[in-house]
């Protein structure tokens, strides 16, 4: 328990930044999904850091992290189903394939 709280927050911020960067830079949809998971885990780490810093009987921080884990699994299930649907149509999982409509 001798890791300072700020260090956990810095680590989480770095994870989040890597996730954002991966989301923006990478073209492979699977890798983009992994980047989103990194961002979610950054949020989890921050929740746990906050829960440790504030202490007390309130467990809302860890409980939020548990909810995030469950919902991340739900999102991954739907997301991978969509990736499979894309692969069936286009035979690729690169986001360059998503160009039929131009914003």
């Amino acid at each position: 328990m001798n890791v300072p709280n700020e260090h956990m927050l810095y680590l989480a911020a770095a994870l989040f930044a890597i996730g954002v960067l991966g989301f923006v830079v990478r073209r492979n949809v699977i890798v983009v999904l992994m980047s989103i998971e990194l961002m979610l885990n950054a949020a989890n780490l921050t929740f746990l850091a906050g829960a440790r810093a504030h202490g007390g009987p309130d467990v809302s921080g860890p409980v939020f992290a548990l909810f995030v884990i469950v919902i991340a699994a739900v999102e991954a299930a739907v997301g991978l189903a969509l990736v499979i649907a894309l692969f069936r149509l286009k035979r690729t999982v690169e986001s360059d394939a998503l160009v039929e409509m131009k914003g």
Partner: protein
């Protein structure tokens, strides 16, 4: 948690307060069972209609005597969340009615479609009543995850899958921003409860950066600048009844929550929010002006409308001192928008005829001669979107701009009004095509769908049109209902 705590959290008042959502959840379970037992259309339809009706009745009864904060203060069942809930149910019902005959023969998983549509209003209700950052997140995902799947529901069509995947990737990205923002707020303050945050006093830098991330995520859901770029593609590619649900329900639910968390923003942010609103309106209108596809045009117009109603938030921050002034304006505006936009998207769905694309503006030319009622309803919706008097859209705009004027943002209100005039340019183009241009030769032989298959859609159109007119003609009655 000891037993007395449980009894305190789950008392009769609490269960009563969330009974509309419970009714929907039970309806979803029953629908899944019915789907296993029988494939009869009438059975599914009866379950969905019965669930929505039961939930609406419960919501009206709860609205008569709102219990207030329940579930240990995490859910607020007040007058506003009751009204929002009714609006969500209406929006879902309209979208569902339009979806009934939309997919034609290539609709492989009919039960799943209705199950997902019936799940979304539960999420919306949780979002509108959330007094806790965790509850809002659960509501957000209950709404978003079914919508990701619904967008890609016609999975043998590239556009549908593309829309679903784009919505999913950006939606999950936005949700991650929300989570990290909530985590930062929790780290800085040690609480997730909005009520506690309200009395917290000044926020540290850490908490303010959390608020910024959280707001970015909400702005993404209501599609305002600079988070609006996904809207045209997703709205165009998704099946049109799903677009109707997305355009109305998601936006209204995210706005209901935004009004609850406005206090997180400092008052000095009023001008920033007003600028974002104006830029959003300008970009939405400019984008819509150049579109030839009516569905895409309506998507850009939805961006412009999100900008307009965001002015309410700016006005609330800037000192609109009339109690509930901002909330009244936002509710009225969104009510008018939900019925207008759901009706307009729904009519496009009806015209698509077995799911083939029929949304180019040339395909609407001369429609008034062949289908006078459809053309009249579409005209009414276009006029309401443009804010012409005697329609609900006009009064919504009036209330929003009036709220901005009360907050001494006269310049902002003037620019907003001028931008709404620009918007008339593209709404009236549709009316011109309907009534004043000859029918294209390529459509001369296209058969009109049988009246029987149009029955649900016609019913939904009639209800939407009636409500849009009533909102425009009897504003006093609706305002008393909102204000009481």
């Amino acid at each position: 948690m000891i037993q007395s705590d449980l009894a305190r959290v789950y008392d009769a008042d609490t269960l009563w307060a969330v009974s509309p959502a419970i009714a929907l959840a039970l309806g979803v379970l029953v629908l899944l069972m019915v789907g296993v037992v029988t494939h009869a259309r009438w059975a599914r339809g009866a379950v969905v209609a019965g669930t929505l009706g039961l939930s609406a009745v419960l919501q009206v009864v709860v609205l008569g005597d709102p219990p207030g904060a329940v579930f240990d203060g995490t859910f607020m069942a007040d007058h506003a969340s009751g009204l929002w809930g009714l609006l969500f149910l209406c929006g879902t019902a309209v979208a569902w009615l339009y979806s009934l005959n939309y997919y034609g023969e290539d609709r492989p998983y009919k039960v799943e479609h209705d199950v997902m549509m019936l799940t979304t209003p539960i999420g919306m209700m949780l979002m509108a009543g959330a007094q806790d950052l965790l509850l809002f997140f659960v509501g957000l995902e209950l709404l978003s995850v079914p919508l990701y799947a619904l967008c890609a529901f016609r999975r043998n069509r590239t556009r549908s899958v593309e829309a679903g995947l784009k919505y999913f990737l950006l939606g999950a990205f936005g949700a991650a921003f929300y989570l990290y923002g909530a985590a930062l707020i929790f780290s800085a303050t040690g609480t997730l409860s909005l009520a506690v945050l309200k009395d917290f006093g000044s926020f540290s830098t850490l908490a303010m950066s959390g608020v910024a991330l959280l707001m970015a995520s909400v702005f993404f859901k209501i599609s305002v600048f600079p988070f609006h770029l996904w809207v045209p593609d997703v709205y165009e590619g998704a099946p049109t009844p799903v677009t109707a649900l997305m355009a109305t329900g998601t936006k209204a639910a995210a706005f209901a929550f935004l009004l609850r968390v406005t206090f997180l923003l400092p008052e000095s942010a009023a001008m920033t929010v007003a600028t974002i609103a104006i830029v959003t309106m300008a970009l939405g209108n400019l984008g819509a002006l150049v579109q030839q596809d009516v569905k895409r045009m309506l998507a850009y117009s939805g961006v412009a409308h999100a900008g307009t109603v965001l002015l309410v938030v700016a006005a609330a921050l800037g000192g609109d001192r009339q109690p509930h002034g901002a909330l009244d304006a936002a509710l009225y505006y969104m009510a008018a928008y939900v019925f207008t936009a759901a009706g307009a998207f729904g009519l496009l769905a009806m015209l698509e005829q077995g799911g083939d694309r029929f949304t180019h503006i040339d395909n609407l030319r001369g429609l008034a001669r062949r289908r006078p009622y459809t053309a009249a309803a579409l005209t009414l919706f276009m006029l309401s979107l443009g804010g012409i008097p005697l329609t609900g859209g006009f009064l919504g705009k009036y209330l929003v701009f009036y709220s901005a004027v009360r907050a001494d943002m006269i310049g902002v209100a003037v620019i907003g009004v001028l931008l709404s005039v620009v918007a008339l340019g593209y709404y009236l183009r549709v009316v011109v095509a309907l009534y004043m241009q000859p029918e294209p030769a390529s459509l001369a032989g296209v058969a009109v769908p049988a009246r029987r298959t149009l029955l649900p859609a016609s019913f939904a159109t009639g209800a939407c049109a009636a409500l849009v007119l009533l909102l425009g003609v009897l504003p006093r009655w609706f305002l008393t209902q909102i204000g009481s």
